[in-house]
């Protein structure tokens, strides 16, 4: 546990600098897109004041929308004031699972762009088991989660198997499989098995009550038990990577596949297993998301979670604990983005820009070092550049 917390310190400086820099550039973009402020450019004092106010208000709105809403608290009590925080955590939960699916693959030397597809398949499996059966709650929930793990795991495992058997590059295969999954769910929701009775739009029936995750803070807040599952799974992935033989093999293959091979580790086997586990993690995320918040399977069940997961994992420097915090931060940004438009008129799309900038700077530590004139103080594990053929 001490080690687990220690890894936290190691991964904070670089992301923190990236955040500051990305928010700075985000602020510039907000200002130049505002014609009223730009019109004041000829009087610098006025321009700076209104630009500063504009940026300050925007970022304050993100905070209010993601952590604690003063106005809401004044109207309906302190607990209600934390509604944004509950939303932030609810948004983070699927990101944690999918982010771990990407991070774990990174450590095994694989770039899993396919979390989106694996997430979708997990949600499909969970939905089927969730609405078709009726049983005692605990068992039902466990079965649903298992279905998610298996469906996602198989969808991810295919990638590992193809890579192990034929050398097909996982990036290409997962990009393509994401599209296959997106089209597959579109088709599936139109079939009689998944189409909700008396409905013509593609939506599956709600999962039965026995398959839903209980809400933690009453019916008003959407926060559900999934956060504990996410924490347990984060710890499990940390344990797997740092304390188990299998995890050691993952890291060995990730660090240097030919050295691992020489040491007697079966690289194809490790590749297949790691992709299966990654798929399982993303699939579990799909299942938790479905029975925690969505209940009904729709074509957009995964949103852009599987893609955001990549940015989350990069933000977390591919460590489990970093990914956890990365997911919560992104959850906060996305939740805050919703109030941004209503409070300040700044479109929430700026969040996407800031997210991308953060990751761009994290991926290029050298740039940050140059900008902030740091020497060797920034510890970074830049993802090793690898070619298509190996």
């Amino acid at each position: 546990m001490k080690q687990f917390l220690f890894s936290l310190r190691r991964v904070t400086l670089l992301p923190a600098l990236s955040f500051i820099f990305a928010f700075f550039i985000g602020g510039i973009i907000i200002v130049i897109s505002d014609p009223i402020i730009m019109a004041q450019l000829n009087s610098p004092g006025k321009f700076l004041t209104s630009a500063g106010a504009r940026i300050g208000n925007s970022y304050l709105a993100i905070f209010q929308g993601s952590i604690y809403d003063v106005n809401l608290a004044r109207e309906s009590g302190v607990v209600r004031g934390f509604y944004p925080l509950s939303e932030t955590i609810v948004t983070s939960i699927p990101l944690i699972f999918a982010g771990l699916a990407v991070a774990l693959a990174f450590r095994a030397g694989l770039f899993n762009i396919g979390a989106q597809g694996q997430f979708i398949f997990g949600a499909i499996g969970a939905s089927y088991v969730g609405f078709n059966f009726e049983m005692s709650p605990l068992i039902h929930v466990l079965l649903v989660l298992l279905a998610g793990i298996i469906c996602g795991g198989i969808f991810g495992g295919i990638v590992g198997l193809l890579k192990a058997k034929t050398g097909a590059h996982e990036v290409i295969v997962t990009i393509m499989l994401n599209y296959v999954a997106a089209l597959f769910i579109l088709w599936l929701l139109k079939t009689s098995v998944f189409l909700r009775p008396e409905r013509f739009d593609p939506i599956a029936p709600d999962v039965n009550l026995s398959a839903r995750l209980p809400k933690l803070l009453g019916a008003d807040l959407r926060l559900h038990l999934g956060i504990f599952i996410a924490l347990v799974v984060t710890y499990f992935v940390w344990w797997l990577l740092n304390r188990s033989t299998l995890g050691f093999k993952f890291r060995a293959v990730g660090a240097n596949a030919s050295a691992a091979k020489t040491a007697g580790i079966s690289v194809p086997l490790v590749t297949t297993i790691s992709m299966f586990i990654c798929g399982g993690l993303a699939g579990l995320g799909g299942a938790v998301h479905l029975i925690g918040t969505e209940y009904a399977l729709t074509a957009g069940v995964a949103g852009s979670i599987g893609f955001d997961a990549i940015t989350v994992a990069l933000l977390g420097q591919a460590t489990p604990i970093g990914t956890l915090f990365g997911a919560v931060l992104f959850g906060a940004l996305q939740t805050g983005g919703r109030t941004l438009l209503s409070n300040t008129g700044t479109p929430s799309e700026i969040i996407q820009v800031i997210q991308a900038l953060i990751v761009l700077f994290i991926a290029a530590p050298a740039l940050l070092k140059m900008v902030f004139r740091l020497k060797k103080s920034v510890e970074s594990k830049s993802m090793a550049a690898k070619g298509w053929n190996g």
């Binding site: 290409i172 296959v180 479109p347 799309e349 761009l360 991926a363 550049a385 690898k386 070619g387 298509w388």
Partner: protein, 418 residues
């Protein structure tokens, strides 16, 4: 029989696969088919010389005719294989026969506007072709380009905005390659200057462009639509005489200026890459940069330049979406075309000609899909749309011949390291 080398083995398995597929198709489309209603293929669009306007044939007879085509294709490939030649010609004939047999089976009792379908296929393929050429230029010189999607999207955005503000389509078309090169510059700068993992970088660039275009779309293009997002689009320029040729004319020679530009760019790339000094150097830095360096080629400078050129090429492709078609920009309108372009590049084995054929094929499946669903053919359109993606997975898995990327693709070059 003499021992076969690896290449011959692959050709052999290609011929065997085609033969097996032919048997399967015969079984599904002919033996067990109960469809007898005729298919009507229409060829005439209106402007070209009229040779034949439509062709009506019973579903089963049509299937039989085209299966015979496919059989001829298999036979030709077998003969080519025996003579130790490439089996491309035979495979193409086989592919044509199979697709037409499928169409005759699937569209029984329906009306298929074949020329219109092919014309749409070319239009759908154009951005894919530009995109895959951009990928090709990058990857041949050793830089992985996942950011094609971002290059297309950004230049679609910029060309629409520039054309709207200036009310000049030509200016829009000129701005598109600049926008594409700008996106490419990020890729080049970070991957060459900082050795950032190019796959991650490309991915992040896509997210960045998506976010930026979405943001400015909401802030500027929606509220001030009439000044910022009213570009209009190029109209088709029929080439005299050539556009009058039945079938081929409307498909190839009655298109917009961007399509003609595409013919030019593909030809130039194909020739330059394999016949010029620049092409030889480009291929060298993509395969073995250390060797190129040892004969005095500045590897990173050439890579930088090629990545920028690639962005410019993708940029012209991006313009197809806005000023080449609908005339306005809409959010994330490229919808994954950049990734299909990447698929084309891989499917075409990192070769301009191959990528061109792959893009046309993927454009064709897309156009076929929409035509079949308009005609009411009960084949889920989702599965038709999956074809490019599954075909690519099959291609990279080596089930139909091995595809191999340039050896140094994605590996940053630093002097003094290997």
């Amino acid at each position: 029989m003499a021992q076969l080398n690896a290449l011959q083995k692959r050709r052999q398995s290609g011929v065997v696969t085609m033969a097996i597929l032919l048997v399967v198709f015969t079984f599904i489309f002919y033996v067990t088919s109960s469809r007898v209603e005729p298919v009507i293929y229409s060829f005439y669009l209106g402007d070209e010389w009229k040779l034949i306007s439509e062709w009506k044939i019973g579903s089963k007879s049509g299937v039989m005719i085209f299966l015979i085509f496919a059989l001829i294709g298999v036979t030709i490939s077998f003969i080519q294989f025996k003579n130790n030649k490439k089996i491309t010609l035979g495979s193409l004939i086989f592919g044509f026969g199979s697709i037409m047999a499928f169409l005759s089976w699937a569209a029984a009792g329906k009306f298929i506007p074949l020329t219109g379908l092919l014309q749409a296929a070319v239009l759908l393929a154009v951005p894919l072709i530009f995109g895959s050429m951009a990928g090709l230029l990058c990857e041949k010189s050793g830089v992985i380009n996942i950011a094609i999607e971002g290059q297309l999207l950004f230049s679609a955005f910029v060309s629409a905005v520039v054309a709207s503000l200036s009310q000049n389509l030509i200016l829009g078309l000129i701005s598109a390659p600049i926008a594409g090169a700008l996106v490419s510059w990020i890729l080049a700068y970070f991957s060459i200057r900082f050795q950032v993992n190019q796959v991650i970088l490309g991915f992040v660039i896509n997210v960045l462009v998506l976010g930026l275009t979405n943001f400015f779309y909401t802030v500027l293009l929606v509220p001030y639509e009439s000044t910022w997002n009213a570009a209009g689009s190029f109209s088709a320029i029929p080439i005299p005489v050539l556009s009058k040729i039945p079938v081929i004319g409307p498909i190839l020679f009655n298109q917009t200026i961007i399509v003609y530009l595409m013919y030019l760019i593909v030809t130039v790339i194909q020739i330059a890459l394999f016949k010029s000094k620049w092409g030889l150097r480009t291929r060298a830095i993509g395969e073995l940069p250390i060797a190129a360096d040892s004969v005095g080629i500045d590897v990173n400078k050439l890579r930088f330049r090629n990545v920028l050129i690639a962005g410019a090429v993708a940029g012209v492709g991006g313009a197809v979406f806005t000023i080449g078609a609908v005339g306005v920009f809409s959010q994330s309108m490229t919808a994954g075309a950049g990734f299909i372009a990447l698929a084309c590049l891989i499917f075409g084995k990192w070769n301009p000609k191959g990528a061109l054929i792959a893009a046309l094929f993927f454009g064709f499946t897309n156009s076929l899909q929409s035509n079949l669903s308009i005609a009411g053919v009960p084949i889920p359109s989702e599965f038709m749309l999956m074809i490019p993606y599954i075909a690519t997975i099959i291609a990279v898995s080596g089930l139909i011949g091995r595809v191999r990327a340039p050896a140094a693709d994605g590996i940053p070059y630093l002097r003094g390291t290997k």
